[in-house]
């Protein structure tokens, strides 16, 4: 598979080939191979300690792998020192230089490249404009708010027009509202820059919002690489199904006739998986529908209301299916529809799952 056709003057593809890195007996990365397309916004998503930051640091050249190689375009970079890789990088805590002004910070990569002062000045001003900080050049770093610091870090990482930009949880220090705003801004910036962006986060929502593709990492292994919707709708692994969305996994029985749910054949539009392996049903709270009586056209997931939690825009209802199984359903909080008919705690609730919303994953719930 080659990405040379995608290569252009603004971005480069990244080839990661069977990369491994261990600390003692623990694999931080285990035989990771990944092809990142030129101009793509790819997110490395995983829980803390999964190896996603190690992978990013290896691409940046700060972490030396035990084996494997890294290519930027056609060029092997495995042994290249970080400063020769031509990357832009944004760090978790911004890592701005506190003794320099905003302009000096943004100009640093230009200075080390020996650019003339007048060229620097235009570039710095353009980069600050790009992140909506025009005219902030003379400010000191400690005079800036968290969001502004974030923008300076972005400007500094892109001012020299790198073809690849790496970001290590850049929004984690911001509050929720600003974070959501910056997600949209970053996405827009990516479209303007057209550079390849590798983004690390443990926040699945952030990953789903921003990415062209998401690479889910767990225990140093690449579990699934897919577009956000594909990942959400078709997880190919128990870990992914569990990690993405507020899922509950329900063990399915696998008989000769096919998969069965609570004794009845599972209705699904996708073809039933072949072979007798165990499968799980992925139940997402927003996919369940409530009705006043049992609806036989749907997969039946009715049970007893255990608790309901008011969450502002919606109500989350915990439903006891019996046999120690608990699922949850999210119902809109608008008065006209469901909230006034949510049964009380202890009363039965009729829930169904449409055949087209059925998601199954190979594996057994422990």
């Amino acid at each position: 598979m080659s990405n040379t056709d995608n290569e252009n003057h603004k971005s480069l593809p990244i080839g990661i080939k069977s990369l491994s890195k261990s600390y003692g007996d623990v694999y931080a990365l285990e035989n990771v191979s990944l092809d990142i397309k030129a101009g793509e916004f790819i997110t490395l998503l995983g829980p803390s300690g999964s190896g996603k930051t190690t992978l990013l640091m290896t691409i940046a050249g700060f972490c030396s792998p035990d084996q494997g190689s890294i290519y930027f375009g056609q060029q092997e970079m495995t042994m290249t020192p970080p400063h020769m890789r031509g990357l832009g990088m944004v760090f978790q805590n911004y890592a701005l230089f506190p003794f320099m002004s905003v302009a000096e910070n943004v100009g640093y990569p230009l200075r080390v490249r020996g650019m003339t002062d007048s060229d620097q000045k235009t570039k710095i001003e353009a980069a600050l404009e790009m992140v909506q900080l025009g005219g902030y050049g003379e400010r000191r770093i400690h005079q800036l708010s968290g969001g502004q610091k974030q923008r300076v870090a972005l400007a500094r990482a892109m001012v020299f027009e790198p073809k690849i930009i790496l970001m290590d949880e850049p929004l984690s220090a911001l509050d929720k509202k600003l974070r959501e705003h910056m997600q949209i801004e970053l996405k827009a910036l990516h479209q303007k820059l057209e550079a390849t962006i590798v983004y690390v986060t443990h926040d699945q929502r952030e990953a789903l919002t921003m990415s062209d593709r998401i690479a889910v990492i767990n225990n140093g292994r690449l579990v699934q690489v897919d577009a956000p919707k594909a990942l959400y709708d078709n997880p190919n692994d128990l870990f992914v199904a569990d990690f993405i969305g507020e899922s509950v996994l329900l063990q399915l029985e696998n008989s000769i006739k096919g998969l069965t749910l609570r004794g009845k054949p599972l209705k699904m539009t996708n073809p039933q998986p072949k072979g007798g392996e165990p499968h799980c049903l992925v139940i997402r709270p927003e996919l369940l529908v409530m009705s006043n009586s049992k609806d036989d056209s749907l997969n039946d997931l009715s049970g007893i209301v255990n608790a309901s939690v008011y969450q502002g825009e919606s109500v989350l209802v915990m439903v006891d299916l019996g046999e120690n199984t608990m699922i949850s359903v999210r119902l809109p909080a608008n008065k006209s529809q469901s909230s006034n008919i949510i049964p009380d705690v202890g009363k039965p609730i009729y829930l169904g799952l449409h055949a087209e919303d059925v998601i199954t994953v190979k594996g057994r719930v422990e």
Partner: protein
């Protein structure tokens, strides 16, 4: 993507990568090498060489006679006793003065405490010789203390304050007290007062909260200060030599005179080995309990 071809590729580069990593690790260790080598040459080698002399008799054969001698001679045993006595008394007064002072400073507003810490740092930065000299001047027969006490009529005859044990201990406490205060104050300052508030809210009395929470959390600094004062006291040379008036002979001076006056290298070396063992036993215990880097945390 072809996994087989990649496996061939990785087999080749893992050695190369490991080599590069080792090279980088060595580079950083090499940066500290000049310092470490200087210390090894100027401190470790001479001290080891000196210590090794204790295991040979005058004919140059291996023997324990130097140790037999120092543990049988009244003179050397007395030196050990005096050294330990002075070190413990010094430590006692450093704790007695240092702990309340640190507690007091830690409860003051940060700015005021930082300003008052200058009073602690000042002696730390001043020459031991100058400070010992100042005490000699203050404590002598016609020094300020005796003059003042006589003029207000408390005493008729000047007190013997310098040139004896009292003078040596006053001088040593003054010199070693900052070594106790600095680590203790650092660890007290890092104690969050919320812990004490929590203890009191859970029904502890303020006095109980102090002992169960504050005192316990100040222990790393307390022991760091204790180890520093005790170890430095064991090896003190200058202060008792000047303020002891020739009557106080601690181990360091005894080692010096055993060589310089009596040329008895074996016995001096054996004394030195005992001194080293005492000092490093204390440090070893501390290193086990808290880690050596806590000794000099600021």
């Amino acid at each position: 993507m072809n996994i087989a071809s990649n496996n061939q590729l990785e087999g080749l580069n893992s050695k190369e990568l490991a080599k590069a990593r080792r090279k980088e690790g060595r580079l950083f260790f090499n940066l500290s090498l000049p310092s470490l080598i200087t210390i090894l040459i100027v401190v470790f080698i001479p001290v080891f060489w000196l210590s090794s002399l204790s295991f040979f008799d005058r004919a140059g054969d291996f023997s324990w006679e130097n140790y037999d001698r120092i543990f049988q001679s009244q003179l050397y045993i007395k030196t050990f006793i005096v050294t330990l006595k002075i070190s413990f008394i010094t430590l006692f007064f450093c704790i007695l003065l240092g702990y309340p002072l640190c507690y007091w400073l830690s409860q003051l507003p940060n700015r005021l405490a930082s300003i008052l810490m200058i009073f602690v740092l000042l002696p730390f930065w001043t020459s031991i010789l100058v400070r010992t000299y100042a005490w000699l001047v203050i404590l002598q027969r016609n020094g300020i203390i005796n003059d003042t006490l006589i003029s207000i009529g408390w005493i008729d005859e000047p007190l013997q304050l310098a040139h004896n044990l009292t003078g040596s201990i006053i001088g040593m406490v003054h010199i070693l007290l900052p070594f106790f205060i600095l680590p203790l104050f650092a660890s007290m300052r890092s104690i969050d007062n919320n812990f004490i508030r929590a203890a009191i809210s859970l029904g502890s009395t303020p006095r109980g909260a102090f002992w169960q929470v504050f005192f316990k959390m100040s222990l790393p600094g307390f022991f760091a200060g204790t180890v520093l004062v005790f170890v430095l006291a064991l090896g003190t040379y200058v202060t008792p030599a000047l303020l002891g008036g020739g009557k106080i002979q601690m181990l360091a001076q005894r080692i010096d005179s055993t060589i310089m006056l009596y040329s008895n290298w074996g016995a001096a070396s054996a004394l030195g080995v005992v001194l080293l063992i005492l000092a490093f036993a204390v440090i070893w215990i501390f290193n086990r309990a808290f880690g050596i880097d806590k000794l000099f945390m600021r």
